[in-house]
């Protein structure tokens, strides 16, 4: 059997974590290729429904990352985001959605090493937990029949 390769989606802010991830690359630091990075203007823009969309489309884990507190390019975007995550994590946990699968972090533009660590550790954790079966069972793709079963 092939080893399970987790699909991780990272939602990051333009000003800190995206630049930080860039630094990881330019510094030639190797990190796991399981992550797909999506750039947002600010963590304040990352609506909770965007995270749900990732799970719906087959993500096994999610990283949400932005500027450290007090470093937000827009002054307060990450403060608002932090409140939202606190509440959203509570709701997810109560609804039976595994919050272990969502990693929140602050990664600045100077923290190339930290970004590599965040990604590697998340991939490692999700690899241990396994594919997100619960969500996969109801994901968008379940509406389609198995390949080849269509009545062409």
């Amino acid at each position: 059997m092939q080893e399970f390769e987790p699909k991780i989606v990272a939602f990051v802010c333009n000003w800190c974590t995206y630049a930080g991830a860039d630094l990881t690359g330019t510094s030639r630091i190797k990190y796991s290729a399981n992550v797909k990075i999506i750039r947002f203007p600010c963590t304040g823009r990352i609506d909770f429904m965007i995270l749900m969309k990732a799970f719906e489309n087959g993500a096994d884990g999610i990283i949400v990352s932005g500027c450290h507190p007090n470093d937000c390019h827009y002054s307060t975007g990450n403060f608002h985001a932090r409140r939202r995550w606190i509440v959203f994590r509570n709701l997810l946990n109560f609804s039976g959605i595994d919050t272990e699968r969502i990693q929140f972090s602050w990664v600045s533009a100077a923290e190339g090493f930290k970004w590599a660590d965040v990604v590697n550790n998340t991939v490692k954790k999700i690899r241990e937990i396994g594919p997100y079966e619960n969500y996969n069972k109801i994901a968008v793709s379940t509406l389609f029949k198995e390949e080849g079963a269509t009545n062409e």
């Binding site: 909770f48 429904m49 749900m52 969309k53 719906e56 507190p69 007090n70 307060t76 403060f79 608002h80 932090r82 409140r83 939202r84 995550w85 606190i86 509440v87 959203f88 994590r89 509570n90 709701l91 997810l92 946990n93 109560f94 609804s95 039976g96 959605i97 595994d98 919050t99 990693q103 929140f104 972090s105 602050w106 965040v118 619960n134 069972k137 109801i138 994901a139 968008v140 509406l143």
Partner: protein, 267 residues
């Protein structure tokens, strides 16, 4: 003639209000909302222990608003709804005449928000003990057990949106679930569509829910939807010190922040 009927008749006659939202006898043993505009209609008004519906949602209904200046028979949940709606700039001070029915059947008049705030400060506004128990029971489960619990509940959902329609805080002219560019929430009431819808609704009510329970009461499929939003009340209070529907000038917990908000999960 009851005090309530007398009072409402007087209010209508001296034009303090044009219409009064109260309760009348409904089908079988049900009680329902009624909209009193004259003395004859006022005779239908009743008040007893079964009058529990939160009538505040009607204050924003277009056709009810058009009846003129409104009076309302409020319970604690309705008072809190009015406070929350005021804090969201949906109701102005003095716009609505509020009558509150005390447990002994006597009536208290509230003509301004200050007096409602003062009253609520000394009133029990918590959730019922059986709801608290249910939440505790769910919290004691494993994540997977909770997933299965909600999966089974949401399976019943037919997306009639009675929960949204009954909720006094769901007054958006265009709900997220009605938005189709992009289609945030699948319209279909399949497992994914139901889960998305209920999570979205709970999240949008976080810090705004006044625990009236109308969503769960309204649900024809008997889904305990109120638990989703009730569960968020105590963490929001504990973390941000905010409780919905207590002050007319309160700031919504999720539209503000403190630089030292505490969390333990961001690395």
């Amino acid at each position: 003639m009851s005090d309530l009927i007398k009072k409402v008749t007087a209010l209508l006659n001296d034009k303090t209000i044009n219409a009064f939202i109260g309760y009348e006898k409904g089908s079988a043993d049900r009680i329902r909302a009624t909209f009193i505009r004259n003395e004859d209609q006022a005779q239908k008004l009743i008040l007893n222990a079964s009058c529990t519906q939160n009538l505040a949602g009607y204050l924003l209904k277009h056709e009810v608003k058009k009846l003129g200046k409104l009076g309302i028979l409020a319970n604690v949940a309705a008072l809190r709804s009015i406070m929350q709606l005021a804090s969201e700039f949906q109701i102005k001070d003095g716009e609505v005449y509020v009558l509150f029915a005390n447990a002994d059947g006597s009536l208290t008049e509230f003509t301004d928000f200050k007096s409602i705030e003062a009253f609520l400060e000394t009133t029990d506004t918590g959730i019922k003990s059986e709801e608290q128990e249910m939440i505790a029971k769910l919290e004691a489960m494993t994540v997977n057990e909770r997933w299965l619990f909600w999966n089974k509940e949401f399976e019943k959902c037919i997306k009639c949106y009675a929960c949204r329609a009954a909720c006094p805080m769901c007054y958006c002219h265009r709900c997220t679930t009605d938005v189709n560019q992009p289609q945030w929430i699948p319209v279909a009431s399949h497992e994914l569509g139901n889960l998305d819808y209920h999570l979205m609704r709970a999240m949008h009510l976080a810090g705004r829910c006044v625990n009236c329970g109308e969503c769960a009461t309204a649900c024809p499929m008997d889904i305990p939807l109120n638990l989703l939003t009730y569960q968020l009340i105590s963490p929001i209070k504990a973390t941000f010190g905010a409780t919905a529907g207590m002050k007319a000038d309160a700031v919504y917990a999720l539209s503000t922040y403190k630089p030292d908000d505490k969390e333990n999960f961001i690395i």
